[in-house]
């Protein structure tokens, strides 16, 4: 059997996804659509974190900060001017933001670009740090973003946040952007530039001695990662329709981190699976948070129990399967067809002997 070309397979599966999205968007109930939207949004967020953490080996905990930038930029650009006048109660929104009104796609890109710009500016000094120190510094950055958002009410409406953001985000957007993110990140990491990023992850000193410019590559990876985190933030704003600084606390980064570690550092396939799995599990665990009866025993409602459950799951995973569900495995058509062949092989050999 001749193996079909990967490009054709990709096109066919994209068409398949296209139909699935069409059906889902039109036939599924709002609750399921929402979970799928969250799942696809986490694909974008997770793949972007995997780029800097899983593939480049730079422990960044700043994702919530980049998301926040993207979310606020997007929200401010898509809100109609008359509506902005209504909701900015603490202080009127500063010019020119009070008059600008752009289409969703422009707002998403602007959010991504601003987020990338922030990453570029802090990346140059901060990416000199290694390991835990880098984690702490990027975490600090995300907190600073949050505090700034709280304290510039003429731009962000302060702690009140922004409400009534148009609900533009639907499956077309979340899935489309997830696929675009995968396309770009996969293209990057399987290129010569990606090889350099992984070389840095594997052995920074050796990479540098081989002529890899550490600053350039780390900042490049960090900036691209932040771009997609910003776009993800824009999706988030137009999915929830309400944002405030509290939404971008460390828990947000932690959620994305769970997805990436669960799926496996350095595996895009793993991140994709984990992103959907995580959101479905999170929803299905909702009842235990609402309190439940188990035989004669009554469990009272405990808010946050889902996160506890997840943290325990993560702990178990890290203890027993350190490389995540998929380790460094990556889906490829070659692998796909070889597996199919393997499944059918036993039959074939017996048939072959009769010929």
């Amino acid at each position: 059997m001749k193996q079909p070309s990967g490009k054709i397979c990709t096109v066919i599966s994209l068409m398949f996804i296209f139909i699935l999205v069409y059906v889902a968007q039109n036939k599924l109930d709002a609750y399921l659509i929402r979970i799928l939207n969250l799942g696809a949004m986490y694909v974008t967020l997770g793949v972007s974190l995997n780029l800097i953490y899983g593939f480049t080996g730079q422990f960044s905990l700043g994702h919530a900060g980049f998301m926040a930038i993207g979310a606020y930029v997007t929200a401010l650009l898509v809100l109609p001017p008359y509506y902005k006048e209504v909701i900015f109660m603490l202080e009127p929104l500063a010019w020119p933001l009070n008059v600008i009104h752009t289409p969703f796609v422009v707002a998403l890109i602007a959010g991504g670009v601003l987020s990338a710009l922030a990453a570029f500016i802090i990346g140059v000094p901060v990416l000199r740090l290694k390991g835990d120190y880098l984690g702490i510094a990027t975490l600090g950055f995300a907190e600073i973003i949050r505090i700034v958002l709280n304290n510039i009410p003429h731009i962000t409406n302060g702690a009140l946040g922004i409400k009534g953001i148009p609900e533009y985000t639907n499956l077309w957007w979340t899935m489309g952007i997830a696929i675009f993110t995968i396309y770009i990140v996969k293209g990057l990491i399987s290129s010569s530039y990606g090889r350099a990023l992984m070389a840095i992850r594997e052995n920074e000193i050796a990479a540098e001695v081989m002529g890899v410019n550490l600053t350039y590559h780390k900042v490049m990876s960090f900036t691209i990662s932040a771009f997609f985190a910003g776009v993800g933030g824009g999706l988030f704003a137009c999915l929830l329709t309400t944002i405030d600084p509290k939404a971008f606390r460390f828990v947000m980064t932690y959620n994305i981190l769970i997805v990436v570690v669960l799926g496996g550092l350095g595996s895009i396939t793993g991140t994709v699976i984990a992103a959907f799995l995580y959101n479905f599990l999170l929803e299905s665990l909702r009842p235990i948070e609402a309190g439940f009866n188990l035989g004669p025993m009554h469990f009272p409602p405990i808010p946050g129990l889902r996160m506890v459950t997840f943290s325990v799951l993560l702990l178990i995973l890290i203890l027993y399967k350190q490389k995540g569900l998929l380790g460094g495995f990556e889906f490829s058509w070659k692998w796909f067809f070889q597996s199919i062949k393997k499944v059918f092989k036993p039959k074939k050999t017996t048939e072959g002997s009769t010929l």
Binding site: R195, A196, N203, V209, M210
Partner: protein, 257 residues
């Protein structure tokens, strides 16, 4: 033609002077050995030449150009490559990727053409893939090209590291104990290999090695370091009979041998 000049360099780590007033001039095409007991400062000299450390005083010249304080990647671009005493491969990457990383500094394609696989990029990538295979062929590793580098036997990892260094097309190659962990047969092959690449690639080589058969067998000139200072310099015969070297180093080696 002078290729490298260490002009009385000194480096201190806190209170410790790891290398003191070290002087070394390498002529193009030379194969020079750097020996001495453990902790003498040999690897530190390599680290200074390759830009990982900067000398506390005085300067390093490569092809009459001051490279003191330059970053390692820039020094690599100028034409200095090295291997490490404790092999530093990209363990989770394939053997071929490890070699291709060596070609990194000769790549020209920009980021967009790499992500979107423009024809120019694809051609460039295929070119270095072929060259990498050719290099792997030299050490009989081409059939292991898809294997994870970290899973190779130690001796092969050392060879791969040399190949990776060659991929940068260096003018000066620094080898830090390349025979460590090799069996006698591999060591013998290594000696031949070093001499061969020196000729084929028109290299100047500086070699740190504890195996005296290797050092005495292939080096034309040997420098002996002890406590960060040069205690002797000369050809193999002179070094072997130098009483101070025997006292500080060779005597000790002989005891272990």
């Amino acid at each position: 033609m002078e290729i490298l000049n260490l002009d009385n360099i000194t480096i201190k780590f806190g209170g410790l002077t790891a290398v003191k007033d070290f002087k070394l001039e390498l002529q193009h095409g030379e194969l020079v050995g750097l020996i001495g007991p453990n902790g003498a400062g040999k690897t530190t000299v390599f680290n200074m030449i390759s830009g990982i450390y900067t000398p506390s005083t005085n300067k390093i010249y490569f092809q009459n150009r001051d490279i003191t304080g330059m970053k390692p990647d820039r020094i690599a671009k100028l034409g200095i490559a090295r291997t490490f005493q404790n092999v530093r491969l990209m363990d989770n990457l394939s053997v071929i990727d490890n070699v291709m990383i060596g070609f990194h500094l000769h790549l020209h394609s920009n980021l967009a053409s790499a992500i979107f696989r423009f024809p120019g990029y694809v051609r460039e990538e295929e070119g270095i893939y072929q060259k990498s295979i050719e290099l792997l062929h030299k050490v009989d590793l081409e059939f292991n090209k898809e294997v994870q580098a970290g899973s190779l036997p130690y001796g092969q990892q050392r060879k791969l590291e040399i190949i990776r260094a060659l991929a940068t097309r260096p003018k000066l190659l620094l080898l830090d104990e390349p025979a460590a962990g090799m069996n006698p047969q591999e060591t013998k092959e290594l000696m031949g290999f070093i001499q061969k690449i020196r000729k084929d690639f028109d290299l100047t080589i500086l070699l740190i090695e504890h195996d005296m058969k290797v050092v005495m067998g292939i080096c034309e000139r040997i420098i002996v370091l002890n406590y960060g200072q040069t205690i002797a310099e000369g050809n193999p015969a002179e070094i072997q009979h130098n009483p101070e070297v025997i006292k500080a180093y060779l005597g000790v080696e002989a005891q272990y041998a």
